[in-house]
Amino acid sequence: MKEIKVNFNLNGQEITVMAPPDMTLLELLREKLDLTGTKRGCEIGECGACTVIIDNQAVNSCLVLVPQVEGAKVITVEGLAQNGELDPLQQAFINNHAIQCGFCTPGMLMSAKALLLNNPNPTREEIREAISGNLCRCTGYLQIIKAIESVCQ
């Protein structure tokens, strides 16, 4: 079918895209907009590698069709750094060695960012829960939790 027009806010900018209605947000980001920070993992909502933030909530971008983001505010990992400065969360991941192979990192960052947007001072348990939908096959969870804790108020 013909492509349809979708307007949304991506990383602070209002954009208009044309996309087939059965294209996922993940495909749009990676294939059409060249934002490859968002990773393609399981594509069935189990691994969390494709996590982005939609209207302040962490979401699997593989389970969202492009037309569903009409009018929404979407943040991807590329939207975290501001004016060339890493987000404190990104810097904390570096400082705490919270990266091994790096594949889960963008998704982890977005889940952590969504948590901090809604709850700037989470407990360790709340941090663990917030990243429970993100799999790290290198199993570096402890460093990730420490990194998130280090930026809490």
Binding site: D22, G45, Q57
Partner: protein, 290 residues
Amino acid sequence: MVKEYFQPLTLAEALTILNSFAGSAHVLASGTDLLVNLRNGKLKPEVIVDISKIEELKIISQEDEKLSLGSLVTFRELAVYPMIQKLIPVLAWAAKAVGSPQIRNRGTVGGNIANASPAADLVPALVALDGVAVLAKQGGLRKIPLTELIVAPYKTKLEPGEIITQVEVTVPSHETGMAFRKVGRRNALAISRLNGACLLNLKGEEITAVSLVIGAVTPSPRRFKEVEEYLIGKNISEKLLEEAGAMAKEKVQAITGRRASSQYKLPVVERLTVRLLQAAWKGDKAYEGN
């Protein structure tokens, strides 16, 4: 191949569109189940009606003892809504058991019911509360208990052109004990091997009312009426709950027959039943994962 995609903003508009396709259109709520089936090719809809922008289906309302959940209320909203945490915590616990934060942020009450997975986590809690679905199609509304709506795994009695608009439950009296448990390989992301919900009322030691649902073991969700009837009128004790567990196990075996999974599932049904009743009796402070 999707040929047409509609995104109505009102229920009336959605029903008109659905009616005009005589049932060949697929309803998309949030898509956490539908997109998985699109991707693996199980589903090849030509027409999608995306109802996710219909604000009137996102409302939680209470009138006296009736609580109405809009079909697009998300699991996250259910888990954090103060009135639900206070009055019907079993719904909040069940909602919190679903998937992962990402799934709970999207997945909806109506989607969980319409998908009719036998392992749905919210459905046992809604069935324990005798939940009734409100269904709309062009030219009419009807109400149907969830136990009649969901007839088999992934099968409902939803008619062509019909969508779930609300689920209604009666708010239990404030002294009602409640419990929810999920058994899975891990807490997050695991699809329930078994789950269950329980409501319990006591007068002194005597059981005056009980509602027990064990999910993911029977083809469609149901209250375990035989076990409930056995318990009502008796004084509660650990021994009585053990008897209830044994009865639940026998009941599941009678419904499903012996299966490869029976050796695992039947003993778990027994313990899960006992633990649900214990938790509802002694106070389930919070959903603890299993």
